[in-house]
């Protein structure tokens, strides 16, 4: 049994406390971190403003799967938070990591020290989480102020956004380990765009014919959206555990792939 574990998780794929060192490095390197953070906070706010204010009056009220009727802005806000968490995780984990991996050779240098591959993985993902957490809190505060949510459970949506961020940072990082040129970013866009558009962010899945709905439910962002919406509306049931489980599972698989692939590329 322990042998099997060692095979599945060789030392390089087990993180240590040194992962924090990579976090420190990133903090040091990002001199204009405030700009990234402002941008990350503004993005969902722009979405909300455009969709809520611009489109809201055309759409009118929306009825959720749970039978609740609410304003379009209140419906769309948690979805936008989830979408933005995904987008941020992807944009900020793919481009910089790609360049560090292939051009800057940052990780080669890191691995010449006692740091392990898993420390890199965990360090990078913690880094992404740190930012995602800041954005999410800012957005939720805005929702409170504008009255888009009144649920006492809403702060839980920040945790949900972190989970979405984790899932997609891991997935984005995993995807980067397969990329060879920056043109491959097109492929990532190809996956992100349908997720963005078809995950129940902008309207309930019930708009679609019933046979299409199960297909939409494959989308991990759909689970993220449902999770966040449950918190901001204060409506819970057992499906929540399922939504969270899907995200955790996907992120873990991503982590596993990253460790495997990084050991393969960096330590060959």
């Amino acid at each position: 049994m322990s042998l099997l574990l060692a095979r599945l998780f060789p030392p390089q794929s087990r993180p240590t406390r040194r992962a924090g060192r990579l976090l420190q490095r990133n903090l040091l390197v990002y001199k204009h971190i405030w700009m990234v953070i402002i941008a990350g906070f503004c993005e969902p706010v722009f979405y909300l403003f455009a969709v809520g204010v611009g489109l809201g009056s055309f759409v009118g009220d929306v009825t959720t799967a749970g039978g609740q009727t609410l304003s379009y802005a209140a419906f769309v806000a948690p979805g936008l938070l989830a979408a933005s968490a995904m987008n941020g995780a992807i944009v900020e984990s793919t481009f910089p990591i790609f360049f560090k991996l292939h051009y800057n050779r940052t990780y080669d240098a890191v691995l010449a020290t006692p740091m392990r591959v898993a420390d890199i993985t965990v360090g990078e993902i913690l880094w992404a989480q740190l930012r995602a957490g800041i954005y999410a809190c800012g957005f939720l505060a805005l929702m409170y102020v504008t009255g888009l949510t009144t649920s006492p459970w809403a702060p839980g949506a920040a945790l949900g956004a972190l989970l979405v961020g984790f899932t997609f940072s891991a997935a984005g990082f995993a995807a980067v380990t397969f990329m060879r040129t920056w043109h491959d970013f097109d492929m990532i866009q190809l996956v992100i765009l349908p997720l963005f558009l078809f995950s129940g962010t902008f309207y309930p899945l019930s708009v679609y014919p019933p046979f299409l709905q199960p297909i939409m439910q494959i989308s991990p962002l759909y689970h993220g959206t449902e999770l966040l919406r449950a918190f901001t509306l204060g409506q819970f049931d057992w499906t929540l555990a399922g939504h969270a489980g899907v995200l955790v599972l996907m992120g873990t698989v991503g982590l596993f792939i990253i460790s495997r692939r990084l050991v393969g590329t960096l330590l060959k």
């Binding site: 990002y30 001199k31 204009h32 971190i33 700009m35 990234v36 402002i38 941008a39 990350g40 503004c42 993005e43 722009f46 979405y47 403003f49 455009a50 969709v51 204010v53 611009g54 489109l55 009056s57 055309f58 759409v59 009118g60 929306v62 987008n87 941020g88 944009v91 900020e92 481009f95 910089p96 360049f99 051009y103 040129t181 920056w182 043109h183 491959d184 970013f185 097109d186 492929m187 866009q189 190809l190 765009l193 349908p194 558009l197 078809f198 902008f202 309207y203 708009v207 679609y208």
Partner: protein, 258 residues
């Protein structure tokens, strides 16, 4: 015969494109399809329940499609102009190799702009086809909007090349992407008439070339009246492109000729 030097840059781009076209071709076709299905039909289903004078009589899909064509050209132009310049200077470093040959920084820029124009023509034509297939407009009119969408893209390509040549860190690039592109996209008038916005925002939106592009494409395809005169709109797009070009030429020289 002497081929113009900037065409050599186009040729080099094409050589790389031959290897990477699969991803781009998919995005070229899928992006309009996905957007029209998700927003035009999905969200459209919610919107068309109500009577909306501001969106015209043809329904949300018909309102959205022309605007998205211009906005899509903008997005393509932004990615195609910014990352190649950034990597050419910083990561791939091909600009440094190129300027040690008879190529000048102006040749690099002209080559890139020609290349992006070709890509935009292609992407916009694909969009026109999708519009026609979805019944969101006539094929002839959609095709006529291709040059307008391409010009809209070019009005973004050259300023973005200038920005990418100026940028010192990748994090600035990423912040720019999230900070400016998304708002430009959302507030271009593609998704809703900008009259919906608070009054103080309207003049700001009108400054964006995207809004002019959307207005032009909607005029051509849907037949809605132009907000400004056609010469003002075309002139504004052309002027933005020219100003960006000038700035990009300057920045590239500053970065590379040291």
């Amino acid at each position: 015969m002497n081929t113009p030097r900037s065409l050599m840059v186009v040729e080099a781009e094409y050589r790389i494109y031959r290897r990477t076209w699969r991803g781009t071709v998919l995005t070229t076709w899928l992006r309009p399809i996905l957007f029209l299905v998700a927003m035009g039909m999905g969200l459209g289903a919610l919107i068309d329940r109500n009577v909306n004078q501001a969106l015209g009589e043809a329904g949300y899909l018909a309102f959205l499609a022309p605007g998205l064509m211009a906005a899509s050209a903008m997005q393509t132009a932004i990615t195609e102009a910014s990352w190649p310049v950034r990597t050419g200077i910083k990561w791939r470093k091909n600009y440094w190799a190129q300027i040690s040959t008879p190529l000048t920084t102006n040749d690099l820029l002209t080559g890139l702009m020609i290349w992006i124009t070709i890509r935009l023509l292609f992407v916009s034509t694909a969009f026109a086809v999708v519009i026609w297939v979805f019944g969101a407009g006539s094929f002839g009119k959609a095709l006529m909007a291709v040059p307008a969408a391409t010009l809209t893209g070019m009005a973004f390509a050259s300023p973005l090349a200038a920005f990418a040549a100026w940028v010192k860190e990748d994090s600035t690039m990423i912040a720019m992407f999230r900070f400016s592109i998304i708002p430009l996209f959302l507030f271009s008038g593609a998704f809703f008439p900008i009259e919906q916005l608070p009054d103080f925002l309207e003049p700001i939106v009108v400054l964006s070339p995207a809004w002019h592009g959307v207005d032009l494409c909607r005029w051509i395809i849907l037949g809605t009246p132009l907000t400004l005169s056609i010469w003002t709109e075309l002139g504004y797009l052309a002027a933005t492109m020219a100003a960006g070009w000038w700035a990009a030429a300057r920045q590239l020289r500053k970065r590379l000729i040291v």
